[in-house]
Each structure stands twice: as structure tokens, then as C-alpha cells.
């Protein structure tokens, strides 16, 4: 058999095979490292938040001039809520319930300056609220309304309002001790109730004044006389806030949210775009290199046509004659796989050292899928080439 190899390998074009080899190698390195980096960065993006903690995204409609003039509504219709719930990224959706009666609050303490304000309340089921407090309970007998306000409100007061007005700054613990008078007014003269309000927590998630849902339902029942309006905000729970389709969906529908929370979603879009571009370029390179491979081997076979016919006359069949070509192909393909994995691994290692400097935790080793892809692609290219080799040697044999 070794004579067969020395006869048929003589007719190869070293330059063609070298270029085909280098081309495939370059394409592979580009493709594999592109996907490796994508997987790494994706991991980093999702690691920036607690993996077990799904993201709570509060969505509202963008306010336009139509709403200002009262021509269109800023609330979510039941159909819109239904549509959001049906999106694949939405694991849970809950609308905010608003008060349907006037609310006002004022301070009733000598230690604090007088304060009076019209208020509003909103409520959602407890599981969507990020503040856990034993006081977060509505007891009609006790009549104390637990309230959660956004952390931002307190910051606004402590770091903006109070210093400029010469007022004292108030720590969280003290705020919780302040009792407010809360007046809920029903329809008609004298139909009102006075309650005590107490701030029991500060939310980083929800930008509203929250009361327990059972309280608001009870109060709406008791005092409510406003026409029921569609909820202005809804809360969306998504296990994967990096999912770029969230941003796309919101943009498309004209909904708004605190964009910061969806930063990783946006970065994901950009990342996906860059990686798709890389994959397209890599695929073109691999495609061209594959063609060069195919043509080089075919050229080699047609250069050896006379020898192949002769070998066939001596009793070699086309399968035996194809073997040296297939072995050559195999050597080159194993070379491409090996080298491209080595180069990609080196690049990955370099990248992870660089990323450490930016305090990003990127794996220094290749993802399993990278090996799978390299082997799969090589198998595909090899198989096509083997078929082409067998077909063309068969054509020369009788």
C-alpha cells in the first residue's frame, strides 16, 4: 500500500493545499474565538445580577402630548396586559392597583415640621415587592397603614431638599418612627376615615407609594367612587433580563421602563450584532477555504488520472485508490482542528488575563460547545470532500 501513497501523493500542489489549510484555519479561529467570547461575555452579563433573582421590571407607557391634553390614555388596557403576559420573556405580569378615592396625608407630631399633601397609593401583590417587613400588614382593627416609598424619595429629601432648606436630614430608622395622619375621603360630605400611616420600608424596585394590596382593595371598596382606570404601571418579572427581545418589544410598543435595568439586554443586542458579523465573515472564509480544498484535491486527482487508470488496471478499485487522498485530507483536517483549537485556547487565555484587569471574570478555558462545533464542522467538510474524492476516482475507474 505504501507504493500507492508515494505514487498518488506526488501530484499534489503544495501551494494550493497550504493556502486551503491556512484559509480554513483562519476561518476556524475567527469562528471559534468569536463564539467563545460571545459565550464568555454573555456569562459576564448575566453574572452581574444575582442568577437566582429574576429581574422585576416596572413598565409604563411613554407620556406624549396626547395624554397631557387628555386625548389618549396612559393606562394599559387588558388586551395590552394580556399581550405582555404572552411574551416569552415575561414570566409573571401584575398590574398596579391605584386608589379610586382622594387621599391626603399630614404630619401629626411635634418633633417634625408640619406637612400636608394630597397623596396617591398603588398596590401590587406582595411577592413583587423587594421590601420584606413584619409591619407590612394591614389590620383594619389597628388601622395603621404600612407604606413603602421609593428609596429615591428619601434620597431626594436627605440630599437635595433638606440641605437646601436648612432642614434636618432624617435616617431611615427615624422615618419609620414618624406617624402620619392619612385621610381617605369617600363620596359625599362627612364620608371619610382617618388612619395612621407609617413608612415601613424603602424600595429600590418600585417607583411609587405602595400600600398592601388587601388594604387598597378594602379601601377602594369602602371609599372608592372614581371611575376605574386602567393601570398606569405594570410590573414584569423576567428570569432573563439580558434577553434582547425585551428591549425590542418595549420599543416597538412605545412602552418605557427604567432603562438601566435593561442595560444588559441592550449590550446583548450589540454583542449579538458584532458576533453575527464575525460569524458571517468567518463562514465566508471557511466556505472559500473549503472550495479551495475541494478544488485542490480534485486537481490532484485529475493530475493523477493516468496513474489512477493504470492502478485500476492492476486491480486496485476506486476505494483503494481514494484512500491516499482521504488520508491526506484527514491529516489536514486533524491539523486544522488541532491548530484552531490551540490558537483559540491561547487567545481565550490572553483575553481572560486582559479581562481580569477590568475585573471581569472570564473563563480561561474553552467552552465545551467550541470543541463540539470544531469537530462537527470538520466532520461536515471532510464528509463532503470524501464524497467528492470517491466520485471523481470512481469516474476514472472501470
Amino acid at each position: 500500500m505504501r507504493y500507492l501513497y508515494s505514487i498518488l501523493w506526488k501530484d499534489h500542489s503544495r501551494a494550493h493545499l497550504l493556502w486551503a489549510f491556512l484559509g480554513t484555519l483562519a476561518g476556524f479561529v475567527l469562528l471559534l474565538s468569536g463564539i467563545q467570547f460571545y459565550l464568555d461575555l454573555k456569562q459576564v452579563l448575566s453574572e452581574n445580577r444575582d442568577l437566582l433573582d429574576p429581574e422585576y421590571i416596572v413598565i409604563n407607557k411613554k407620556i406624549n402630548i396626547g395624554q397631557t391634553l387628555g386625548l389618549s390614555k396612559a393606562g394599559f388596557t387588558p388586551e395590552e396586559i394580556e399581550d405582555i403576559s404572552s411574551q416569552p420573556f415575561a414570566d409573571q405580569v401584575a398590574p398596579f392597583l391605584a386608589n379610586q378615592f382622594p387621599v391626603s396625608g399630614y404630619t401629626d407630631s411635634e418633633q417634625f415640621p408640619d406637612f400636608y399633601s394630597e397623596l396617591f397609593f398603588e398596590a401590587i401583590p406582595d411577592e413583587y415587592i423587594d421590601v420584606k417587613s413584619d409591619d407590612w400588614q394591614w389590620d383594619p382593627i389597628d388601622g395603621t397603614i404600612p407604606i413603602i416609598i421609593p428609596q429615591d424619595y428619601l434620597n431626594l429629601y436627605n440630599f437635595g431638599f433638606a440641605p437646601s432648606q436648612g432642614l434636618p436630614q432624617i435616617p431611615k430608622g427615624v422615618i419609620s418612627m414618624i406617624k402620619f395622619r392619612i385621610r381617605l375621603k369617600g363620596q359625599g360630605q362627612g364620608n371619610y376615615g382617618d388612619y395612621t400611616g407609617r413608612i415601613v420600608g424603602f424600595s429600590n424596585r418600585i417607583n411609587s407609594i405602595m400600600v398592601p394590596l388587601d388594604f387598597l382593595e378594602w379601601a377602594n371598596d369602602k371609599y372608592g367612587y372614581f371611575e376605574k382606570v386602567d393601570p398606569a404601571q405594570i410590573i414584569l418579572v423576567s428570569k432573563d433580563p439580558t434577553d434582547p427581545s425585551i428591549i425590542r418589544y418595549l420599543d416597538e410598543k412605545g412602552f418605557d421602563t427604567i432603562r438601566e435595568k435593561l442595560k444588559s439586554s441592550r449590550m446583548n443586542i450589540i454583542l449579538k450584532f458584532i458576533i453575527s458579523f464575525l460569524v458571517v465573515v468567518a463562514s465566508i472564509i471557511i466556505g472559500l477555504a473549503f472550495l479551495v480544498f475541494l478544488l485542490s484535491l480534485q486537481l490532484m486527482i485529475s493530475r493523477s488520472a493516468e496513474k489512477i487508470r493504470r492502478l485500476n488496471k492492476l486491480g486496485y478499485n476506486f476505494r483503494e485508490i481514494s484512500r491516499p487522498y482521504i488520508v491526506l485530507l484527514g491529516i489536514l483536517m486533524v491539523g486544522v482542528t488541532g491548530f484552531s483549537l490551540i490558537i483559540t485556547a491561547v487567545l481565550t487565555h490572553k483575553f481572560s488575563t486582559m479581562a481580569e484587569a477590568w475585573s471581569l471574570d472570564i473563563s480561561a478555558s474553552l467552552h465545551g460547545i467550541i470543541y463540539g462545533m470544531a469537530v462537527g464542522l470538520i466532520a461536515l467538510i471532510s464528509l463532503t470532500n470524501v464524497i467528492a474524492i470517491l466520485l471523481s476516482t470512481k469516474k476514472l475507474c472501470k
Binding site: I7, L314, G315, F318, C397, K398
Partner: protein, 214 residues
């Protein structure tokens, strides 16, 4: 094994004058294993075509050819490949040697797929034919007569039921031709094989069971 022609004639021979041919004019021609046949004719009477049809490298013919009563036109590539390794051996008129390989490598190229002859037997045959000292030279620099002897030894490096020899002594002197013919007949009788040897009209000195004029 038998080879039978039924009104078989290669297409190019249709345009030739075949009057008096004992093959092309016959309804049926039978070649039997164990017998030696010498097919004589001047150039252009279809000697090579006849052997090529039997060997399956020519398929342009009229009529039919049967091997053990099976029509060879139905044979697959696998069957042809096996036939050429186990049942049919061919000494080509054009020799079909690889010039870049040595005489020995040319012979081993065949023997390595059949594994038929032991290396000392190959050396023995080379000695018989007087080419043992050329065995390590490239085939391309040997004389045509020497190359013919290499091709003969190569053809004997496989089992066969029929040996097809196409003017294989054309460039050898009488002495060498006799030695080579002797070797061929020996191998044929060891294997119990038939011989189809084509030749111009100058081989009266070769004995055969049957002579046919093409």
C-alpha cells in the same frame, strides 16, 4: 472457469475486414481454464481489444461475453476489482509500469494487494528472466525488453484462472522469450490456469494447446 464469446466483436472491428478470422467470424468462441491459446494476427486485427473486453476495460462491443455463463456486462466495479485480484491477470502490451518506481516496487505494488508471492519467489523469477540486477533501478530507465520482463513477473504475482498476455515477448530475443514463456506456462500449470497469448505471426516456436487466427 470458462470464457465464452457469443458473436462478440468490438465496435471498431465492425469497420475492418475480418474475413477468415476464427474469432470474429464465429458464432461462439470458448476458452477453457487449464488450456493455453495463442491468438495470432497482424496488427489491427483486434488482439488487444479482445483481451481488454475480457478484462473489463473495454465495453464497446457487440454480442456477449460470459464468464462461467454469467454475462460480464452485468459485473459491478466490485466484481471487476475482485476478478482482477483473484481470477484474471493481464500482461499489458503497453506494460503500464510506473516509471518513477523501481522494477521491484512495480512488482510489489501488485503483490502488496494480492499478497500472493513470497519475496524469494519474486527474486527467483527475476533471476530466471535475467533481470535480478535491474530490480532496484527505476522502471523508466530500463530497456523495453527488460520492462516487459518486469511486467511479466508482476502479472504472475496474483492468483488467476486466466492469464492474458498481450504481445509480451515483442522486444525480447528468442532465448529470453523462451525463458519467459516457460515461466508463464509453469505458473499457469501450478495454478491450473488458462493462457490467452496474443502475438504477431512469428511465434511458431511457442507451444500451445490451440492457435486461433484473428
Amino acid at each position: 472457469m470458462t470464457i465464452r464469446f457469443e458473436k462478440m466483436i468490438p465496435l471498431p472491428m465492425l469497420e475492418q475486414d475480418t474475413t477468415g478470422s476464427e474469432v470474429w467470424e464465429s458464432e461462439s468462441v470458448l476458452f477453457e481454464q487449464g488450456k493455453s491459446y495463442i491468438l495470432e494476427a497482424p496488427s489491427g486485427r483486434g488482439k488487444t481489444s479482445l483481451l481488454s473486453v475480457i478484462y473489463g476495460i473495454r465495453k464497446d462491443y457487440q454480442g456477449a461475453v460470459f464468464m462461467d455463463n454469467k454475462p460480464i456486462s452485468k459485473f459491478s466495479w466490485r466484481e471487476w476489482s475482485n476478478l482482477r485480484k483473484k481470477n484474471l491477470s493481464y500482461i499489458f502490451q503497453g506494460l503500464e509500469l510506473f516509471e518513477g518506481l523501481t522494477a521491484r516496487e512495480n512488482i510489489l505494488l501488485k503483490n502488496s494487494i494480492t499478497g500472493f508471492q513470497l519475496s524469494h519467489r519474486i527474486e527467483e523469477m527475476a533471476q530466471t528472466l535475467g533481470i535480478e540486477e535491474f530490480m532496484d533501478r527505476k522502471a523508466g530507465i530500463l530497456s523495453f525488453g527488460q520492462q516487459q520482463r518486469v511486467a511479466i513477473i508482476r502479472a504472475l504475482c496474483q492468483p488467476f484462472n486466466f492469464l492474458l498476455a498481450d504481445e509480451c515477448f515483442s522486444h525480447m530475443d528468442h532465448h529470453n522469450s523462451r525463458m519467459a514463456y516457460q515461466l508463464i506456462l509453469e505458473e499457469c500449470s501450478v495454478q491450473g490456469a488458462g493462457l490467452l497469448l496474443t502475438s504477431l505471426n512469428d511465434t511458431e516456436f511457442l507451444k500451445a494447446d490451440e492457435r486461433k487466427r484473428l
